[in-house]
Amino acid sequence: MSAPSQEPTIQEELQNAFPFLREHIKVARERRVFVETPLENFQEVFEHVVKKMGFSILCTITGLDMGEKLGAIYHLARPTGVILSLSTNVSKQAPVIHSITPYFPAADAYERELVDLLGFKVEGLPAGSRYPLPDGWPEGQYPLRKDWKASMLEKDEGKNAQ
């Protein structure tokens, strides 16, 4: 059986530490908290949640095409079962985020997904092979962007053939 409800304390602690988050914390149900933070505060909120609030497990990172912007949701969990989904967004013109591999070394696969599928630029991402697209994939094509269609790949195929 799970521990007594932790969500109200999570909400309170976050609001006290970061007053600007007041309107941006949503408790969807038991064990599910969603928090939205501006990019400039992301690093401090992320560090606080991971280091001081016990969200020591990274489940994955979800990337989103939100039209003008790209979104990234970091799904963090406590060993007791609560998931805090911390989201932020960047403009498509400068889609730069910082790598969280200093906190979670295994996050590189999830960050490479953001790079390959949505066109994020991740600063501090360790060198390594790309994931999950093949090496010969045409540059500038991001399959999870809403305007991407498989037909764009066929048109580009001749150009990038090796």
């Binding site: 994955t60 295994a106 696969a109």
Partner: protein, 411 residues
């Protein structure tokens, strides 16, 4: 003779297509003699664009597509996905349906763990174990086929519940099968804890200590075998797990032997859960009416698949198609630990180290002959296949009749 200079190292590639691998992935190894000094992994050869495809299909179509993310833990993915959709849509799924979901989920775990035990046996040259476990696995495969209509990709889930109910006769059938499986599993536990061939081959191989498992984000039996006491079924209960009593099996051996003990232990827990689910199956409907369009919203869903935690994120935009579906399968979380486990091990251990995280590869469906009209002479049942095999060998001068008689007499 130890070699410390990098120039003495030999670099070899294993994969993406290689006899030692069951699915396409590519390892680059730096060897000093037979010892693996460094390794790196390249994935993505199986990328099929399912997340993108989900955005272009309706929720119901997606359910069937998502089920095909994996050929072994198909019910895991389908349940993880539909739980998220139902949460956004605000559907109250009937209790009986939740029990059936957990029931199919535990039967799936039984077939997956028995499959793994066989693969592990095969990878260390203990093929008798493969033959035994895969024979016994047929008991649960037949049961899944009887309950859902399919050996894999059961299609039991639907939005708002399950598509098939369970009858009283089926309940009896399940309990009977579980008795057989439990007896066989007791035998495997005996083999795993007393057979020196297996213990000596697996103990100390593919080491990953507790802190490394946590640091590298390992999940499922791979993490639990390094004493990481985590299981989504207990920590973040879904379906009927909140109402079941079960133990989370861990081991502090932190090697492949530990991963074996965790999986056989989980088989025994699964039988206990299946009995509880059958005994306490609530009355009532198995589905509620679900809308075609799902209101805008988002949900995160987790599921303890046989290989570890599945995570799905679904974002809805008010139409009949999702805005975004994100799937994180347990292998992606565990494969990053493989490089760590390979380091300082021997090249010959590579196949079992990789197999020990139970990476997910599609298992091939095969047909079951359900027709009894006698029209198909090409299908053989178990007994006729067995007698065909005995005759085939006898014609070539190999006859075990006397030997079998002596065994039965206990000589």
């Amino acid at each position: 003779m130890p070699n410390s200079k990098n120039s003495d190292r030999v670099r070899i590639s294993v994969g993406p297509q290689h006899p030692a691998l069951k699915e396409p992935e590519s390892f680059t190894l730096a060897l000093s003699g037979e010892k693996i000094m460094e390794s790196s992994v390249r994935l993505g050869y199986n990328h099929r664009g399912i997340e993108k495809a989900c955005e272009e299909r309706t929720y119901v179509q997606d359910l069937y597509l998502i089920e095909r993310v994996c050929g072994i833990c198909s019910h895991s993915h389908s349940t993880a996905f539909i739980q998220a959709v139902e949460e956004i849509a605000g559907l109250a799924v009937p209790k009986r349906a939740l029990y059936i979901r957990s029931l199919i989920g535990e039967l799936e775990r039984v077939h997956s763990h028995l499959l793994w035990l066989g693969v592990a046996g095969h990878e260390v040259g203990f093929d008798t174990l493969l033959m035994y476990t895969w024979r016994d696995r047929e008991v649960v495969m037949d049961l899944l086929a009887a309950l859902t209509g399919n050996r894999v990709n059961y299609g039991i889930n639907t939005m708002g519940g399950v598509r098939r109910d369970i009858s009283e006769e089926q309940k009896a059938q399940i309990l009977k099968a579980v008795d057989i499986l439990e007896e066989r599993t007791r035998y495997y536990i005996e083999v795993a804890t007393s057979e020196p061939t297996l213990i000596n081959r697996l103990a100390g191989v593919g080491k990953m200590l507790h802190d490394d498992a946590i640091r590298l984000g390992a999940v499922g039996p791979t993490a639990r075998a390094a004493a990481v006491d985590r299981d989504v079924r207990r920590d973040d209960p879904y379906a009927a797990y909140g109402e079941l009593s079960f133990k989370v099996i861990t081991s502090d051996k932190a090697d492949i032997y530990g991963r074996t003990l965790v999986r056989v232990g989980e088989l025994m827990e699964a039988y206990s859960m299946i009995r509880q689910l059958v005994k306490n199956l609530p009355d009532g409907p198995v589905t509620v009416k679900a809308p075609r369009r799902v209101q805008a919203g988002e949900a995160v869903s987790r599921y303890e698949a046989p290989r570890g935690e599945d995570m799905h994120y679904v974002k809805a935009n008010g139409t009949d198609r999702p805005e975004r579906v994100k799937v994180r399968a347990p292998t992606l979380a565990n494969v990053q630990a493989v490089s760590h486990m390979l380091k300082d091990g021997y090249l010959a251990d590579l196949p079992i180290v990789i197999a020990a995280i139970d990476p997910c590869f599609s298992c091939t469906d095969r047909a079951i002959a359900l027709r009894e009209d006698g029209g198909s002479k090409r299908t053989m049942d178990w007994l006729s296949l067995r007698s065909y095999s005995i005759d085939w060998h006898r014609k070539r001068g190999i006859d075990f009749t006397d030997l079998n008689k002596r065994f039965r007499a206990g000589n």
